[in-house]
């Protein structure tokens, strides 16, 4: 089979060339192969994290006999449903290092993948509305700087310069007292991330198998030997599960349990508008976050539902509350209209940090529990998970995220300190 390493590179020139032939000669971005009987690694879940894992397994570790098995279509889960925010200004060292690795990879990702993921470093503001918010912001920014992550604490007038439409009046119910500012933060085109990794992994020989659901994890003497799927059994020396909201269901197939709860996280977009918001604005205290996509939509993140659920919708009052917050922050947006709302299922750990771990079953690995922070971590998650799977030991940056922290008590509590970890 012709491996797509011979894949034509995308460029302005290739666009012109293809335009002359009426775009009839573009190559497939990825193949649509039948599953082989046996792989070195089967990755369950073809979202951004799974595809990135496959890509780095092939690229960094030379393991190319890999299949990604996806029950729906590539990037169809949370990759398609998030608010595309990228930042690395996490409080705790463990989380900060992981997200900063991701940030560094983001910074070269379009070039590396030869696929424009539209990574836009327009900066991320986290607003503070009370004195404790400001203490937390100060604490986090200081920690970030000493960890080599860019960050500043801004005053209301500095904030106003960046976001002119923000209400910085001291008279409002929850006035803006200041903010943390990560200039390197921003957004990316979420679907493109999945497609870029898919095309990259495919080019390196990875089989991307869509519309195939894993229905069981076959083990022999405590060791994984493959997965049962709706297309039959697929043998594998290692099975790596990256299935976000469905991780609990996957774990159950191997007789394991995970400290996860799955809940819908809601988001909404407005109709497209001319550019009016040039950065990402987040506020934990009044609870809403907002950015404007390149297409012009205001992309607004709401909260998670308070209860477990797998319905890709959420409670309406969550949306109501979020839009109250948005109207409080941006009184001019009150007349803007909501075009579409949706929910994604996030799997959240008690400490709002992920699980990247070997398990008690040999050859079975889990990468899950990203909660509301999954999208921004995509490249870093794939990178350390590929390393963990390839070497059968946690990547140093992944080690703190092992499952054993739930019995030792070594939780990395991003809840308490960083607030909502979007």
């Amino acid at each position: 089979m012709k491996l797509p390493s011979a894949k034509a590179r995308y460029s302005g020139l290739s666009l012109i060339k293809n335009a002359l032939s009426y775009h009839e000669n573009w190559q497939r971005a990825w193949r649509n192969p039948k599953p082989k009987t046996d792989y070195d690694v089967v990755i369950v879940g073809g979202g951004g994290h799974g595809l990135a894992t496959a890509y780095y397994l092939a690229k960094e570790h030379g393991i190319t006999n890999v299949a990604v098995v996806e029950k729906g279509y590539l990037g169809g889960g949370n990759t398609a449903r998030n608010t595309t925010i990228i930042r690395s200004n996490y409080l705790w060292d463990e989380a900060a290092h992981l997200y900063e690795l991701a940030m560094k990879l983001w910074e070269g990702l379009s070039q590396e993948l030869n696929f424009n993921v539209m990574f836009s470093q327009r900066g991320v503001l986290n607003l503070g509305h009370n004195l404790q918010d400001m203490r937390d912001i100060e604490r986090r920014v200081n920690a970030n700087r000493l960890n080599g992550i860019d960050g500043e604490v801004l005053t209301p007038s500095q904030i106003k310069d960046i976001v002119p439409l923000l209400n910085t009046s001291p008279d409002c119910r929850y006035p803006v007292l200041g903010a943390s500012w990560q200039p390197r933060g921003g957004t990316a085109r979420h679907d493109a991330v999945a497609w870029g990794y898919a095309r990259g992994a495919d080019a390196l020989g990875v089989d991307l198998i869509q519309q195939t659901e894993v229905t069981g994890i076959r083990r022999q003497n405590g060791t994984v030997i493959g997965v049962e799927t709706t297309q039959g059994f697929i043998g594998a020396r290692k099975v790596a599960c990256v299935t976000a909201g469905n991780s609990g269901v996957m774990a159950a197939m191997a007789g394991l349990r995970l400290p996860l709860e799955s809940r819908p996280l809601q988001a909404l977009v407005s109709e497209p508008l001319k550019p009016c918001l040039d950065t990402v604005v987040m506020s934990n205290a009044v609870h809403g976050y907002i950015s404007q996509s390149d297409k012009g939509d205001l992309v607004i993140g709401a909260g998670t539902d308070a209860y477990n659920g797998y319905g890709q919708r959420g409670s309406f009052h969550v949306i109501e509350h979020t839009l109250q917050a948005i109207c409080e922050l941006f009184p001019a947006f009150s007349r803007v209209r909501m075009n579409r709302q949706w929910g994604g299922i996030v799997d959240t750990c008690p400490d709002a940090c992920p699980v990247i771990s070997k398990t008690s079953v040999d050859g079975l690995y889990f990468n899950c529990g990203w909660g509301t922070g999954g999208f921004k971590a995509t490249p870093g998650s794939g990178f350390v998970f590929a390393d963990t799977v390839a070497n059968d030991r946690p990547h140093p940056l992944a080690a703190p995220f092992s499952l054993d922290r739930f019995s030792s008590g070594a939780l990395i509590d991003e809840h308490g300190a960083a607030g909502v970890a979007h």
Partner: protein, 102 residues
Amino acid sequence: MLEIYCPYCRETREEEEFSYSGEAHIARPPEPEAQSDEQWGDYLFFRKNPRGLHHEMWYHQTGCRRYFNVTRDTVSYQILESYPMGENPTVTTVANQTGDAR
């Protein structure tokens, strides 16, 4: 957006009146000190999180301030029953349920 039947108020009320309190029927180990770190961690953090039938606790926060249990399908969100603390659910299986049955 749920409408929840409170077995004490004997009425169906809006979700906003309630707060969710997690999985039901998790008993505190009678002798915590006799538990290993693993067992204790299990009690603290590990939950069923099923895709399907879920027995869960709700607190009627702005109503009668009573805790009670609800059996809910986490996919359809249909509530199949509400029952007081100390009672067992009558609905325990549903067709096509997947997920962890601990």
